[in-house]
């Protein structure tokens, strides 16, 4: 036990230095004025940006939902195929992640632009070109593309653990395909869904570069607002910290709801 404690020291100090201390700095900035006095004005000023917060949550939830819809059947197929094909399929999903995040988003700019690849293709096929770049749709597409692997990975890992014998037993007992899906597969994969949803939703809601590059600046999200406070003309880290704090609380709230859901399911599974 003592040995374990010594071994964990580097990790504890790491967490202190890079998680707890910065967190305390954010809280400190959020409740002080530039001269260091206590104030709650920073946090009350965040209320002005309520519409942006709602928009960020809305776009992030749409992106999360679509990612879930896309990855669920896909992960199921991968987990059932197994072997070499499964490995190759996983590799293809992971391949874009080896490239830089900015580069991937930049590539979408070239695809969706007015004279971009997509529109050139549409014109070639005699369709009318579409205007996607600099709209919310482009932002959502960027989010889905960038965070889809985070949804697929946990789903595949839980789905691989479902024993085929469980499904066979249900079939033997006369279960229809639909009830196998709702009564066995969904409950067994819920933990994967929960962690996938959080891993997509959290970075999507706080992103700033996707909305900047694909949203054309006119579709500000909460992350852009924070960025503007730190590196923009106004330079107001106190307001920026307050917005971050509010965002963190909101995300924590969302996640605690999700986690509760997961715990209940775990109990159901254990009994």
């Amino acid at each position: 036990m003592k040995k374990l404690r010594i071994l964990s020291l580097p990790y504890i100090s790491w967490v202190c230095m890079f998680t707890i201390v910065p967190l305390l700095i954010v809280i400190f900035f959020a409740i002080t004025t530039p001269s260091g006095e206590f104030t709650i004005l920073n946090i009350s000023n965040v209320g002005r940006y309520f519409s942006v917060i709602v928009k960020s949550i809305l776009l992030a939830s749409i992106a999360t939902f679509i990612s879930l819809i896309i990855s669920y059947p896909f992960s199921y197929i991968i987990s059932r195929v197994g072997g070499k094909t499964g490995k190759i399929a996983m590799m293809i999903i992971m391949l874009p992640m080896w490239m830089n995040f900015l580069l991937r988003t930049c590539a979408w700019m070239t695809i969706l632009e007015k004279n971009g690849l997509l529109n050139k293709l549409l014109v070639y096929l005699n369709f009318s070109p579409v205007n996607i770049i600099n709209t919310k749709i482009a932002v959502v597409i960027g989010m889905i593309y960038n965070y889809l692997p985070f949804m697929v990975l946990p789903l595949v890992s839980v789905m691989k653990k479902i024993e085929p014998s469980v499904i066979e037993a249900a079939q033997d007992l006369g279960s229809s395909g639909f009830s196998i899906f709702t009564k066995i597969i969904i409950p067994l994969t819920t933990p994967g869904v929960v962690s996938g949803v959080t891993m997509v939703f959290v970075p999507a809601v706080s992103t700033f570069i996707i909305s900047r590059m694909l949203g054309g600046g006119g579709n500000l999200l909460i992350g852009d607002l924070i960025d503007m406070q730190f590196l923009g003309n106004s330079y107001n880290p106190h307001l920026g910290a307050a917005i971050s704090l509010v965002l963190m609380v909101l995300i924590l709230l969302c996640m605690s709801v999700m986690n509760q859901f997961e715990c209940e399911d775990m109990e159901g599974k254990l009994v």
Binding site: L58, G216, N233
Partner: protein, 399 residues
């Protein structure tokens, strides 16, 4: 674990900065051992000749001449530089802020007064680049390079002649207009359109400018900064405001592009060399600034960056085609209409910024059904989770 992860993502901005500071300190510390004499220089990216294209490597030449090593690092915006100077423990000896940032730093006592006896080459600077608005007695800064903001447009896509900033409000060019993603620059353009000074102190003027920008938002394709360069070159947009130095490069790459300096008068930006008040090597810093005012060095920097030099002797040494270029060196009557940014009072700055954020977050194409649909979806999700939960409980109790 996921909670921590999310916090980390949100905090990455802060942490990233901390990392940068740590690296910068480490770099300068390691240099101490190698070179006993060194100065830290903090400049714009791509703003000093580095020895490519047959030009001189300015920092190396300085080291050869004086034996003082230059630790050179770069920034990409005034705000970035200011934030770093304010929160980092690295001491820079020479920095190159722009006009309005200089006046802000002077008012905050961030800059050291220069001893011009150590900078004899200051006499090479054009008389009309001395004592500018941001540093009226010219005590703190030595102009380094300058340029103007103008309008870049595509001759094939814009039919009407472009002469005024009003062209950026042309309804025929809807969704083909790019605009600066920066409150100061965008408000400046709107103010000039209305015939008001960039440095106006009247709130009414600023509110009027905000109204103009609000009207313009429907026509704007995207709010960007450096992306203007690529988007104009690839003909993604038809018209955009941009800086003269880069415009020359763009016109060379895409002959369909042209650059005009609007008749409304425009912004002349000057990036000047300054010494922060906390520098302990002011003497060496002044030596370096003096070196930069040397005609040959100034010529190399002007040729490398593409921006215009305020150095009279360097100007006379320029090739004829650049000297006579009306974009790089506009005529005196055009130049006399230009204006530098001066740092706004805190009050005005906050007003501009909050108005800018309001414009940016306003949703023109907001569908009335978005919010109700969102709430309905949330409620469905809530109900369905509850239903599933109670069902699961029932199953459990049966077992």
């Amino acid at each position: 674990m996921i909670i921590k992860r999310s916090c980390l993502i949100i905090l990455s901005l802060l942490i990233l900065d901390l990392h940068c500071f740590a690296q910068a300190t480490a770099a300068s510390d390691s240099q101490v051992g190698m070179h006993r004499k060194y100065i830290n220089v903090y400049n714009w990216g791509e703003f000093m000749s580095n020895g490519s294209d047959g030009l001189l490597n300015v920092n190396l030449e300085f080291e050869k001449a004086t034996g003082i090593h230059v630790n050179y690092s770069t920034f990409s915006s005034n705000e970035e530089m200011y934030a770093k100077l304010k929160s980092s423990n690295v001491v820079y000896d020479v920095i190159f802020p722009s006009d309005y940032m200089i006046s802000k730093m002077i008012s905050e006592k961030f800059l050291a007064k220069l001893n011009f006896e150590n900078i004899p080459n200051f006499k090479n600077i054009f008389a009309n680049f001395k004592n500018l608005e941001y540093d009226p007695q010219n005590l703190y800064s030595v102009p380094y390079l300058w340029g103007v903001v103008g309008i870049v447009y595509n001759k094939n896509l814009v039919q009407k002649p472009v002469k005024w900033f009003d062209a950026l409000w042309d309804k025929d060019l809807a969704k083909n207009i790019l605009m600066f993603m920066n409150s100061r620059d965008s408000f400046g353009i709107a103010q000039k359109k209305l015939g008001v000074s960039f440095n106006t102190k009247s709130k009414a003027d600023i509110l009027n400018a905000a109204e103009e920008l609000r009207k313009q938002k429907k026509l704007v394709q995207a709010y960007v900064m450096d992306e203007i360069f690529d988007k104009m070159q690839s003909e993604e947009a038809a018209i955009a405001p941009y800086y003269s130095g880069d415009a020359l490069v763009m016109m060379k790459n895409n002959p369909n592009l042209d650059f005009v300096i609007p008749l409304n008068g425009t912004n002349r930006f000057v990036d000047a060399a300054c010494v922060p008040a906390n520098s302990e090597k002011k003497g060496w810093a002044e030596l370096y600034i003096n070196f930069l005012c040397d005609p040959k060095i100034a010529l190399n920097n002007a040729l490398y960056s593409g921006y215009s030099t305020p150095n009279e002797l360097a100007y006379t040494m320029l090739p004829e085609r650049i000297k006579n270029n009306k974009v790089a060196y506009p005529e005196q009557d055009v130049l006399s209409k230009t204006e530098c940014y001066v740092y706004n009072s805190k009050e005005i700055n906050e007003l501009i910024d909050s108005l800018w954020i309001d414009i940016m977050i306003a949703d023109e194409d907001n569908n009335v059904w978005v919010m109700p649909a969102f709430i309905v979806v949330c409620m469905i999700a809530l109900i369905s989770t509850n239903v599933i939960r109670s069902r699961l409980k029932k199953v459990n109790s049966k077992i």
